[in-house]
């Protein structure tokens, strides 16, 4: 009926349980961003015109580019798991590293995007921003906070994947035991999903 055939063994191993724990954690992440989306939806509802105006400042090209990068990184992440399932350790490591590099590219883009905004004097508390309408101040507040927290999650995800790569090299993650890599992948895909919603809601409302 359940998993207790393993109870006798010294180390209890339950991959389904481990994945379940990871999913539950992802729900908290989902709701964490969900709270910000709630905020976004109400402010957009009450400041429609200002949101449209403010969104014109955002660079759709960079946004689209970053979307492509992140979606591709999700692909390579999934491929790295498929590779380890086929016992192709080197290919798996390769895909993991590509995922991290794509994450890095995303962050570099983000960096240029943000510094350009700062250059134009649009940052929290700046004089340029404070003379704008309340709706625009809110838009940029949400923009910085939501993409910022998302960026932080990308960074954390990159670090986690690097750990997984070292585990794979050391042989901790193998064809028979790859739940760690799977969990890291789940996290990475969730970060991707968040971006799937952030992108149209910030960059495509002009």
């Amino acid at each position: 009926m359940s998993s207790h055939e393993h109870a006798a063994s010294l180390v209890h191993r339950d991959d389904v349980g481990a994945r379940m724990g990871m999913w539950l954690f992802l729900f908290t992440e989902l709701l964490l961003f969900g709270g910000m989306f709630l905020l976004y939806s109400v402010y957009r509802f009450t400041n429609q015109a200002e949101f449209h105006l403010a969104a014109k400042e955002l660079n759709t090209v960079i946004g689209t580019f970053n979307t492509i990068i992140l979606l591709t990184s999700s692909l390579t992440m999934a491929l790295s798991i498929a590779a380890i399932q086929k016992n192709n350790v080197n290919l798996s490591i390769f895909f993991q590293l590509v995922t991290v590099l794509l994450g890095l590219a995303f962050m570099v883009n983000k960096y240029f995007e943000w510094t350009a905004k700062f250059h134009h004097g649009i940052y929290p508390g700046s004089e340029e921003l404070l003379v704008k309408s309340p709706g625009e101040i809110l838009f940029f507040g949400l923009y910085y906070v939501m993409t910022g927290l998302h960026g932080l999650h990308v960074l954390i995800g990159m670090v986690i994947i690097l750990f997984m790569t070292s585990f794979t090299i050391k042989g901790v993650i193998t064809r028979d035991s790859y739940v760690k890599l799977e969990s890291a992948g789940l996290y990475w895909h969730l970060v991707d999903i968040i971006w799937i919603f952030l992108f149209p809601l910030f960059y495509l409302i002009t």
């Binding site: 998993s3 991959d15 109400v42 979307t67 692909l75 491929l79 028979d176």
Partner: protein, 98 residues
């Protein structure tokens, strides 16, 4: 209770992932193009709809929800339901304000 096998294998070939990736790229292209056209109120709806389809693909294929135990799918449904209800109830206030 959940399935018996603790180390359930759900290996897909590489092909399906690449297929899903192509679909995601296509959807991104659509959403960017469509954003230029003004559907009025429908613009947001279209964008969110496309984003939801993309999310569905990522959840089921990349995140292996398709081959995962039924419990997991119920979990995901419960969480998304909770979030959606929060939206609905919040707007039961805000849409009638003033």
């Amino acid at each position: 209770m959940e399935k018996n096998d603790n180390h359930s294998q759900h290996s897909h070939g590489y092909g399906i992932y690449i297929l899903v990736w192509l679909a995601l790229m296509a959807l991104t292209a659509i959403t960017v193009t469509v954003a230029g056209i003004n559907f009025g109120n429908l613009t947001v709806t279209t964008a969110l709809l496309i984003a939801s389809v993309k999310t569905y693909l990522v959840l089921t294929i990349f995140m292996h929800l398709r081959s995962e135990d039924r419990t997991f799918r119920i979990f995901v449904a419960v969480s998304i339901f909770f979030l959606l209800v929060s939206f609905v109830l919040l707007f039961s206030d805000y849409s009638f304000l003033r």
